[in-house]
């Protein structure tokens, strides 16, 4: 199943945020979206996920969802968006309540999602009892429970400390390794983008336009190799040189706003 951004533009009142953004996320592909602050990355993700009606253009899905998929386009949120009045298990089950799955099957799906994210021992815990990393794992378990075709991840690691980020990055790489799921990964962090994505869409400063699409010429397995580190750093440097000037301008613009 492919996700297509088809000439998407969006404005909030007089503020033009996105301008004619087009690209395709092919089945099983991971596309990172990077760009200066305020360039419309999160807005674009909301449009792609159907949470925001664009001013022009549209997001399209092509092909059929994988068998058993209950929600082909599934978000993983920056702020986790867990229901504080539900336990870990109930948070994951919540997104299955309306699907018509019988209770026993629901329980099995939840148990499987918790097992895949290492949360089985925490199924009865409340969100307030969990660390940021564990909360994001619950967000990932919830997403996995509906068997998505494409994950829409909005800065999923930005609220976490560096060690937890590293651990969750390893989890993401593991989850996306078999190519069964694609992802759109919005991030400020170029290292995350280079480690995870197959292609990186670089947006210009506001209004966000596609400035460049940078393919990563290594498989994710190859990127784990110590010898690939130099190549990844060079790519990161290349991306930063694309963004730096506009990031400075965006920063100044925000200070004057």
């Amino acid at each position: 199943m492919d996700l297509i951004a088809d000439h998407i533009s969006h404005r909030f009142g007089a503020l033009e945020v996105l301008d004619d953004v087009s690209f395709t996320v092919s089945s099983g592909e991971v596309v990172a979206i990077v760009g200066p602050s305020g360039c419309g990355k999160s807005t674009l993700l909301q449009v792609l996920g159907g949470l925001l009606q664009p001013s022009a253009g549209q997001a399209e899905l092509r092909g059929t969802p994988p068998p058993g998929s209950l929600n082909p386009l599934t978000f993983v949120f920056q702020d986790f968006a867990l229901l504080p009045w539900c336990t870990v298990e109930q948070n994951v089950e919540f997104v299955l309540l309306h699907t018509g799955l019988p209770a026993t099957e629901r329980a099995a799906v939840v148990a499987d999602a918790l097992r895949r994210t290492g949360l089985t021992d925490f199924r009865g815990a409340w969100p307030k009892q969990l660390s940021g990393g564990m909360r994001q794992r619950v967000g990932i378990a919830r997403a996995l429970a509906v068997r998505p075709a494409i994950l829409l991840m909005n800065e999923p690691l930005s609220a976490l400390d560096s060690q937890t980020r590293e651990l969750l990055m390893e989890d993401f790489i593991g989850l996306l390794a078999d190519g069964a799921m694609g992802a759109v990964y919005v991030t400020h962090n170029l290292e995350e983008a280079v480690r995870l994505a197959d292609r990186i869409v670089v947006l210009s400063r506001r209004p966000g336009r596609v400035r460049e699409v940078v393919p990563i010429p290594l498989t994710r397995a190859e990127r784990g190799d110590i010898h690939a580190r130099g190549q990844l750093l060079a790519l990161q440097g290349e991306l930063w040189s694309l963004i730096r000037g506009q990031a400075i301008d965006a920063e100044r613009e925000m200070q004057h706003a």
């Binding site: 978000f75 009045w85 997104v95 309306h98």
Partner: protein, 278 residues
């Protein structure tokens, strides 16, 4: 990089020669804790002083009867059956009015919180009618509904309704939008979002509203009973005042205070049961 000359004040060489002194602790205060028994001890002390002042004749018992006289009055009211009669009538009025007002307030509050049309219309009406002291409507309600229980119950229900509606729609407004967006992103239907996201999210505000409406109901029942009732705690307090039976009057006030405390404890219990996740 800035460099300091050797042996200048503040340089490492200079500091090593100086006398050491502990860093003064300055992080105290601004963390008040409620003692477990301090409140009870204070109440017992005040009651003791009050009793002493009355028994020693420092204050006139007609104007301020002693706590023991008030306790005696409550005991006599209890054994005569009058206490139960007055309390049961007041509780019936409060209970019926509060349930009716709360039921309507929750429905209207949710409608305002969830629908643009209801919000546009409802907030205008509530803003216009909420500031009216509801007891001022009692004479009108007597004209409409007669002189029985109905106007008193309606006064309480009206007072409870507005506060409840406001606390419910404020609670709905305070539900984090990211949780609603999350549910929508999983295609969760409207009714499930209301039941599993909006309702529990608004519950802290709704229960805080219950605390306010319980006080409103108590205030209105006493006022309504003082205006036009033969029985009820408000009527009893008014009659005792008219007859200068200040021990009976304060007995009624103590019963009202105990009733308010009991309702407060009930709401605490509800909060502990329903909001344990906080």
């Amino acid at each position: 990089m800035l460099e300091r000359p050797e042996n200048a004040p503040g340089s490492p060489q200079d500091d090593r020669k100086a006398v050491t002194q502990p860093v003064a602790f300055r992080g105290a205060g601004f963390a008040p804790k409620s003692g477990r028994y301090s409140g009870w001890i204070a109440i017992i002390l005040v009651i003791g002083l009050w009793q002493l002042a009355g028994s020693a004749g420092w204050v006139n018992a007609l104007f301020l009867p002693t706590p023991s006289a008030i306790a005696r009055a409550i005991y006599q009211l209890a054994i005569s059956g009058a206490l139960w009669h007055h309390v049961s009538v007041s509780v019936m009025r409060i209970g019926t009015g509060w349930i009716l007002g709360t039921f309507a307030g929750v429905i209207v509050g949710f409608a305002i919180g969830l629908s643009s049309l209801a919000r546009g219309v409802g907030i205008t009406f509530i803003s216009a009618l909420f500031p009216i002291p509801k007891i001022a409507l009692l004479p009108l309600l007597i004209l409409w509904l007669g002189i029985g229980e109905e106007p008193k119950i309606a006064t309480i229900a009206l007072g409870v309704f507005f506060s409840t509606a406001i606390s419910v729609y404020s609670g709905v407004d305070q539900v984090p939008r990211n949780l609603i967006r999350m549910a929508q992103s999983f295609n969760v239907p409207f009714a499930t979002i209301v039941r599993h996201v909006i309702w529990p999210g608004a519950l802290p505000s709704i229960l805080a509203g219950f605390r306010i409406t319980a006080s409103v109901a108590l205030l209105l029942v006493v006022s309504a009973e003082m205006i036009g009732a033969e029985f009820g705690i408000g009527a009893f307090v008014l009659q005792a005042g008219n007859l200068m039976q200040t021990d009976q009057l304060l007995a009624g006030v103590v019963i009202l205070s105990l009733f308010g405390l009991a309702v407060g404890r009930l709401i605490n219990w509800l909060e502990n049961r329903l909001l344990h996740w906080r």
